[in-house]
């Protein structure tokens, strides 16, 4: 590295939910930050398709299947990687990874300025001490080194800034937040809520979602086109390029370099990080940047991959790998997909307005509240659900042709109700990632080998999830129903991969400390989902953002005190 090269106060790797919050916190506290993003910038006028109609696409929304199968054979499995939005997902041929054929792992990635925040589902639930202190309740594994009280102010900070709509419910197992007004139930959900609450004693609540229901911090309210995963011109849902990154940029202390594929952390002779090495995605030239602090926020598995690939004489197995924890304890939620049916009481010939960008949920009760214990498994699950009128799928179930068919499609519109349980995956040492000894990506960086599967606890929980789902479908008297699939969703399918560089007080069993700082190297931090100790059953992104804000505040404080 040239000696006169600029040394940044901090280098942040990754520009998504985590990196955006770290950059905002650091720059607003006076630090000069370089952000390196592996993918290109997305330009709304070119890349967004939020208002495109199916007839405005060559394949009418069904996708160019040849292109998807050849360029994105894995990404296409994600519902959002379609003819409208495939640009927000990687080319699989350029980004290979390996897994045992009997342990298929579905790795969905979005490499661009903003990462996966373009196409995330925006679901924003706080964790409670049910999650943070799970091990102290049931004795399995490790608890987090932080509690809900530690993170609560940062949840507040994040929610106030990005805007999260939701309803205050007073449920101890699902803490309320700083909510914008909630969205509304559909007719089918109102019907279902009454039955579920009466027959099961469970609350059914509207999703807590990072969509604005009122103007907020200079961004207009959602206009309810319901196509968030295609981009949002009005920036009415949270993504980092329209919310946290502009905040960092406005400080004048933020530099963003896109198409910079970080391969490793550069270490000095004293065992501190001196910067990062990266490959220019366009020219494939190797480059380096100097930084006094390195923050990895590239998404759980990418950050761990960078650590594993940061090999040197002092760190032969990678940085942060001095114990046997780095790369291990990979988690992803599992779901039982496919359960749905028609609500017979609501058939109608009147079309209702649609466009609400979220669903409803039945929060976790099992093993979370008194009287709901289930000793067949540890931890628990929740349900997400949605009810809306069928658009035209009922046409395939109606016999007949011609004007008569079209008249029936118009006049007898079924209300569909779909419900999916999502369960917690226990952290297990034998769910792990490592560097593949042979396979490399398009930039010559070793690919990951991922070996993960669900165990006895997940299968026992799935059995109860399946039973409960059936009971709810029975209670709603759903017709034309399909039951939940027998198989658990593939590992990775829910795109909530967490763990592999977990947090802990004990340097012998964890990778980062309670402030996301590597035990082994004090000026390297991992702030994304890699640090998760347990995952609960709720979506992790809000917690990732809160942890990142907290880590950013800590880094700036320590940097100012000369401790990094």
């Amino acid at each position: 590295m040239p000696k006169d090269k600029k040394t940044w106060d901090a280098i942040v790797v990754g520009s998504g939910a985590s990196g955006g919050w770290v950059a905002k916190e650091l720059t607003e506290r006076g630090m000069e930050v370089l952000m390196l993003e592996a993918g290109p910038p997305r330009i709304p006028e070119r890349d967004f398709s939020e208002h495109v109609w199916p007839y405005g696409l060559r394949f009418r929304g069904f996708g160019d299947q040849k292109a998807l199968l050849t360029k994105q054979p894995i990404q296409r499995l994600c519902y959002a990687c379609d003819e409208y939005s495939h640009q927000f997902f990687i080319n699989d041929a350029e980004h290979p990874y390996t897994f045992p054929e009997d342990k298929p792992f579905m790795w969905i990635r979005g490499r661009q300025v903003g990462g996966k925040t373009f196409c995330w589902a925006r679901i924003s639930y706080r964790y409670s001490d049910n999650e943070f202190q799970a091990a102290s309740r049931d004795g399995y594994g490790e608890s987090w080194p932080i509690t809900y009280k530690d993170l609560e102010p940062y949840y507040d900070r994040v929610e106030r800034y990005i805007g999260v709509s939701g309803s205050r419910e007073g449920l101890p197992q699902l803490p309320d937040g700083q909510f914008l007004p909630p969205m509304r139930f559909s007719c089918g959900e109102e019907y279902a809520r009454g039955i579920v609450e009466k027959q099961f004693g469970w609350r059914m609540i509207i999703d807590r979602t990072a969509n604005l229901t009122v103007p907020h911090n200079g961004r207009p309210a959602c206009h309810y086109c319901d196509q968030c995963q295609r981009g949002c011109f009005t920036a009415s849902y949270f993504n980092s390029p329209s919310v946290t990154l502009p905040a960092a940029a406005r400080t004048g202390r933020f530099t963003l370099v896109s198409d910079a594929v970080v391969s490793h952390v550069v270490m000095d002779d004293e065992g501190k990080a001196s910067g990062v090495g990266y490959i220019d995605a366009a020219t494939k030239q190797a480059r380096e940047e100097r930084g006094r602090v390195v923050v990895l926020a590239a998404a759980a598995l990418e950050s761990t991959r960078i650590l594993l690939n940061s090999r040197s004489r002092r760190f032969p197995d990678g940085v942060g790998a001095s114990n046997n924890a780095l790369g291990h304890y990979l988690m992803d939620h599992f779901t039982l997909e496919g359960a749905e049916g028609t609500l017979p009481v609501l058939r109608s010939g009147v079309r209702e307005t649609v466009g609400r960008p979220c669903g409803v949920i039945i929060p976790k009760y099992v093993n979370a509240v008194a009287g709901a214990e289930d000793r067949n498994f540890l931890r628990g699950f929740y349900f997400f659900a949605d009810s809306r009128q069928e658009l035209y799928g009922h046409a395939f179930r109606i016999r007949g042709i011609g004007n008569e068919l079209r008249a029936k499609v118009r006049s007898d519109i079924p209300w569909r109700f779909s419900i999916t349980p999502q369960g917690e995956c226990l952290p297990r040492h034998d769910n792990f990632v490592t560097l593949d000894p042979e396979k490399k990506d398009a930039w010559g960086i070793p690919a990951l080998h991922i070996s993960a599967s669900y165990g006895e606890n997940e299968h026992a929980m799935a059995k109860r999830m399946r039973e409960r789902t059936g009971e709810i479908m029975d209670a709603l008297k759903l017709e034309e129903r399909t039951p939940p699939m027998d198989a658990l969703s593939p590992f990775g399918k829910n795109i909530h991969e967490c763990g592999t560089a977990r947090m802990g007080n004990d340097p012998r069993t964890s990778v980062v400390n309670r402030f996301n700082q590597l035990h082994d190297v004090r000026n390297v931090f991992v702030t994304d989902g890699a640090c998760f100790v347990t995952q609960g059953c709720y979506e992790p992104t809000l917690t990732i953002m809160a942890i990142s804000a907290r880590a950013g505040e800590y880094i700036a404080g320590e940097y100012g005190r000369g401790n990094l």
């Binding site: 060559r58 199968l69 499995l77 109102e190 200079g218 309810y224 502009p246 940029a249 011609g402 593939p490």
Partner: protein, 207 residues
């Protein structure tokens, strides 16, 4: 939805939302890929509403006789639908069929790991169905069997419910129609619009 209605809905939504535009101090140049709320989404929406990518399409799968025949078949399935929409559906069906062998080959060319993942995600049957797709043969044979059927009523009688050709052509007709401008209007679809507040149940006494 016609363009004028788009203008009205988007305009109304913007006013009702209380949004007055990106603040002055926030309008400094941002790095590429970083952006603020756009006031030009109206133009984008109108552009999207008017896009017709297959308007000038020339069939690659159907020959002239088949192209005319499939339009008659679609008309039997759909009834009184405009000729423009029927042609649009036929063009889309042609594009899909013209690609289907390449799609099947691409499915067969998945690596063992990619195939294992697809099976884990979809189940075995859908993956095998894609790998053994024979829609080209079904469509060609089906249309060949209808050559010479002169009147539409005779064509309706000749279409035998439950046959592979019937199922394939009916599915294409339904998918094609209800993704067309005319079909969405027929459904009275009220999405991809702009509302000032969350859509939801507005019935005071619904149940």
């Amino acid at each position: 939805m016609i363009s004028r209605r788009w203008v009205l809905q988007l305009g109304a939504g913007t006013v009702l939302s209380g949004f007055h535009g990106w603040a002055e101090e926030q309008s400094a140049p941002l790095p590429p890929g970083v952006y603020g709320p756009s006031l030009n989404h109206l133009g984008h929406a109108l552009q999207a509403a008017n896009a017709r990518p297959l308007a000038e399409y020339r069939p690659r799968f159907f020959d002239a006789r088949e192209y005319a025949l499939i339009q008659r078949v679609f008309r039997v399935f759909l009834g009184d639908v405009s000729g423009d929409t029927i042609r649009e559906i036929a063009n889309w069906a042609d594009l899909t069929l013209a690609n289907s062998l390449a799609v099947r080959d691409a499915a067969r060319a998945l690596s063992p790991a990619e195939r294992a993942l697809a099976v884990a995600y979809y189940g075995t049957a859908p993956v095998q169905a894609l790998e053994s797709d024979d829609s080209v043969r079904v469509m060609r044979d089906g249309l060949r069997s209808l050559i010479g059927v002169e009147t539409d009523s005779a064509l309706a009688e000749a279409l035998q419910e439950g046959t592979p050709f019937y199922n394939l052509a009916r599915r294409a007709a339904i998918d094609g129609y209800y993704t067309s401008r005319e079909g969405l209007k027929d459904l009275n679809y009220k999405g991809n619009a702009m509302y000032a507040e969350s859509p939801g149940c507005a019935h005071p006494i619904h149940f």
